[in-house]
């Protein structure tokens, strides 16, 4: 009886169902992390801008977004954005919320990386005729990257976990598929454990890879 509740999880149809959920989870996480990297880097650059109002706006963005519950942002982008005339599908509403939230955290990571580059190098680059953006691109960012990669990977792990929030607005990702399985077989304990293990395998491999990179970068 109890064993059956575990065994149904191994039926090919259920395994396949879990895997299709995992695929959407990974897709959402990948799209969101790429967007967050772009926006986060932009915001980090804006935060060190010479023009004060831009600096303040960037600061306000990071401070408010990273201090709000992600769930509120997910609800906002799915339920409130249509009131502003912006209708997003479940998938994109979730991706937008993840991106807004994660980009604020990425911006902090990037800023930490930028600040780790000694100030003298920036001055040297500028006095040798580079523009601000050239200095960023050729001098600061390549060096900052080393500092940034380990925290960025752990941010990515967080993002993979966070995609489970999309289930609340009905995205058919990993957790949602798990939910449909345990509703059908009445085995929440077993299915939730199984789904947790799937998340764990993905995230733990990512974490290990992050640690490997960290060691490699440290010895360079």
């Amino acid at each position: 009886m109890e064993l059956d509740k575990w065994l149904v999880l191994l039926k090919p149809v259920n395994l396949l169902f879990v895997l299709t959920g995992l695929w959407l989870t990974i897709k959402m996480a990948l799209v969101s992390i790429v967007l967050s990297l772009a926006i986060g880097t932009l915001i980090a650059v804006l935060r060190s801008s010479g023009f004060a109002p831009i600096r303040w706006l960037a600061l306000m963005y990071t401070e408010s977004m990273r201090n709000l519950p992600l769930l509120l942002l997910v609800f906002f982008s799915y339920f409130a954005m249509p009131k502003l005339g912006i209708n997003l599908s479940i998938y994109w509403a979730a991706v937008v919320a993840f991106t807004v939230f994660t980009s604020a955290l990425v911006a902090e990571i990037v800023r930490g990386g930028i600040q780790s580059v000694p100030r003298g190098q920036v001055e040297a680059a500028i006095s040798s005729g580079m523009t601000y953006l050239q200095t960023m691109q050729y001098v600061i960012l390549p060096q900052a990257m080393k500092k940034m990669i380990p925290p960025l990977i752990s941010q990515f792990v967080t993002l993979v976990k966070d995609t489970s929030y999309a289930m609340i607005i009905g995205a058919s990702e990993l957790f949602e598929h798990g939910k449909l399985i345990y509703i059908q077989y009445n085995n929440p304990l077993q299915t939730l454990f199984f789904v947790a293990v799937v998340y764990f395998v993905v995230n733990y491999s990512l974490s290990l890879y992050g640690r490997y990179l960290e060691r490699r970068l440290a010895t360079d």
């Binding site: 339920f79 304990l189 939730l192 789904v195 947790a196």
Partner: protein, 218 residues
């Protein structure tokens, strides 16, 4: 627009009630996760391989799986093996178990930051392992630990919104109820966001202050 705001403000007592529940849940879960974190961190630094591994397994498992699964595990999984807890406790347990894994790592970093010579000195002057922890290591580790602990508290408050999915009556839940009662969505979410920021922004300022203070002190 403005008439919407009047309706939203008339729900202020409900939302403030929700905020109170959010604070209550966060504080209780924080206490629990401090206990869990401390135990796991001591395991992690214990000179015993098995306990060490157990602590590590705890941290890795709970840090690498979504919080919402852990909450649902207590909420739905518990009853299926005959453990019935009120919803609020299921939520708090989920939050505490999850945050405890992060706090354990914070504590471990703090413990390990204290030079090992001091622990050895304490041991060789006749203290037991736990006494050395209590009188020598932990008092020094506190400074290193407080700022990241503050960050975990902020995360805990934000994460508590997830408990609205099991209907514990927190701020997020009350906001959802009010907005589906009135069909006013935008304004309610903005209002709730501001209420959340009222808790998290001062906390994050406090963390910044501590970081600067403790850095200056070294």
């Amino acid at each position: 627009m403005s008439s919407n705001w009047i309706t939203v403000f008339s729900y202020t007592p409900n939302l403030l009630g929700g905020l109170k529940v959010t604070i209550y849940i966060s504080l209780t879960a924080l206490l629990l996760s401090l206990v869990i974190g401390l135990i796991v961190a001591v395991f992690r630094t214990f000179p015993n391989r098995l306990l060490n591994r157990l602590g590590l397994a705890y941290v890795e498992f709970f840090q690498n799986t979504p919080l919402i699964i852990q909450v649902f595990f207590f909420y739905l999984g518990g009853p299926s093996i005959g453990i019935m807890l009120p919803r609020v406790y299921c939520g708090m347990l989920g939050l505490a178990v999850y945050t405890g894994a992060y706090i354990a790592e914070v504590f471990r970093a703090g413990i390990q930051a204290v030079p090992s010579g001091q622990a050895e000195a304490a041991r060789s002057s006749g203290m037991t392992y736990l006494q050395a922890m209590r009188y020598v290591i932990i008092p020094q580790a506190v400074k290193i630990v407080l700022p990241p602990l503050g960050n975990q508290t902020i995360n805990l408050v934000k994460n508590s919104a997830i408990l609205s999915t099991i209907a514990v009556g927190d701020l997020m839940y009350q906001t959802n109820i009010a907005s589906s009662d009135t069909f006013i969505v935008f304004e309610f979410f903005i209002f709730a966001a501001l209420l959340y920021l009222c808790i998290t922004v001062p906390l994050s300022q406090l963390v910044n202050l501590m970081e600067r203070r403790f850095k200056a002190g070294h």
